[in-house]
Symmetry: C2
Subunit: 328 residues, 2 copies
């Protein structure tokens, strides 16, 4: 079978690609598991050099997810697995509404329509976000039964795609699953336009000896998930029994609710005797206005019942990052 | 100011038009109330003769809501009030998925984009539906804080438009309000493709001396609203103070939760000594499969707090219909 990962050369996309390549098989359309013989990583910008760990099954394709013809050209085999990760991020969506609608809504519809046109009802895994929650009536703890009233254009487009994935699945056009992601930590490399970027920067920069200013007060509480666990969770939700998921295909991945202060403590504990860049707090109104609309914690009963993984501890997340990206 | 009503020659659209014409003024864009000097009723099919009760302020325009240029031509004055009622109905949407997406989603976006392009942040009233609720996890009583997991394409598109209206409002592109309609009774004229049509037919046909078969068991419970109250509620939500509505612009209109048996009793009581066509029950699997996904009751705390009207009784709804459409 063929695997398509949109946003496939991003941090999560590449780690997911390597996991699938290592496993070698995925649940098919229809019954049984199939051998992965072809993989396309589709992205709007490709890295200057071919990333490590990709064997000759893998092709990198540059293109716009909002370009229907480009998406149709990708999704061209009935025996296919689609992981739709491509997205404008939260801060980017607030700054360019039309871009967010074009990439996240039109682009998502392109992926779903291409899958529908195959006639094989392939499995499609879409990455949604806890930014679908928000608003004055939002409870402190969100979850799969909580009304979604997003307060960012990013969150709005993600909530819409969840609804559309549900309906395409109900109609039998495809077998969709939406993984609702908590904030993923710790992203390596350079900061991106996500308003949640500081939840990674506050670890990454000090561990690389660079001072970092946290743009929110230290008592801000937020649900976070380690990147290893996100990739395993996306994979597990793709593989999960469809009947067990039920009519609501969107599942909040298990997270840890932590304050910025607790995250700082986890950094200190995991870093041991290392010399770290310093952390201070410099509130940024643009970031704070977005973050204050987000939930403080997210329950994940359905995800746990489906066997999706959970982080052992905040320290374990930091130690994994040190192992994968600092000491490596 | 100009008033545009999409779906304006439908039952609700025409009654709303007459109410606005009689009142003569509507809330801004901006501060204060303005005089209505122009009204367009836009619809995909126009009635063969000009409907009664429309003065020379009113123009009827035929067109497709999914045609962006046609919509732009309608929404052409900064001092405008838009009531977006045009929609594929529930049964129709189940039978033609692509039509529902084109009319309800693309058409809705056309209306919102046209309003945004004016730059005046006009008020826009969108008619959503309690068909936005559904699914295995739906509580018996829905309401403004209940998660929306629609089980029809119609409901899915309505839930999406609610999300988009919220975000356009948050961004200041317009001042949107979504009236989430319970099932409206009693629609005069011929049956339409709405799966809820029998809630009107079970009154209308017997009152016109015609036998009628109810397609669901008599213990089916459902929230209903009289058409006079719907029109008054749409008007009141359009006029309501935006700050009082808050960040979730979608408000469930007040309804009465009634079983089919209770509706039958109301018909008998309101009809007095009239000779009625007979009612029997002939279950229709297509209708039952849709209706069973709907809620049994809907709370409307926010609507009541905003001063939106509620029906006095089921009998009052039937008596109004007799007055307006049987004896008239």
């Amino acid at each position: 079978m063929k695997v398509v990962i949109t946003g496939g050369t991003g941090f999560i996309g590449l780690r997911l690609a390597r996991k699938i390549l290592a496993g070698g098989m995925l649940a098919g359309p229809g019954e049984g598991r199939q051998t992965v013989d072809e993989m396309v990583l589709f992205d709007v910008v490709l890295p200057p050099e071919r990333p490590e760990g990709l064997d000759d099954r893998v092709t990198l394709v540059q293109g716009e997810i909002a370009d229907r013809a480009a998406v149709d050209a990708l999704i061209d085999r009935p025996d296919i697995a689609v992981f739709h990760l491509a997205s404008v991020v939260s801060g980017g969506g607030e700054k360019d509404f039309d871009l967010a609608m074009r990439v996240n809504l039109d682009g998502g519809l392109n992926v779903l329509e291409a899958c529908r046109s195959l006639g094989s009802a392939p499995r499609v895994l879409f990455t949604s976000s806890i930014a679908t929650f928000g608003g004055a009536a939002m409870p402190d703890v969100v979850g799969d039964l909580v009304k979604q009233t997003p307060q960012t254009t990013y969150g709005m487009t993600k909530a819409i795609l969840e609804l559309i994935v549900n309906d395409y699945t109900r109609k039998g056009f495809l077998d969709g699953r939406s993984a609702r992601l908590p904030t993923v930590i710790i992203r390596p490399g350079k900061p991106n336009a996500a308003a949640s970027g500081f939840f990674s920067g506050m670890f990454r920069e000090p561990l690389n000896g660079i001072d970092f200013s946290i743009p929110v007060p230290t008592d801000v509480r937020h649900p976070v998930i380690g990147y290893r666990t996100v990739v395993d969770g996306i994979h597990a939700l793709y593989e999960a029994d469809g009947a067990a998921i039920g009519d609501d295909r969107a599942v909040t991945l298990p997270s840890t609710s932590a304050t910025v202060e607790e995250l700082m403590a986890a950094l200190g504990n995991a870093a041991g005797g290392r010399t770290l860049g310093t952390l201070d707090v410099k509130p940024d109104p643009f970031i704070m206005d977005i973050v204050k609309t987000w939930p403080q914690a997210a329950s994940a009963d359905r995800a746990v019942a489906l066997g999706l993984p959970q982080d052992a501890s905040l320290e374990a997340i930091v130690k994994a990052f040190i192992e994968d990206y600092v000491d490596a």
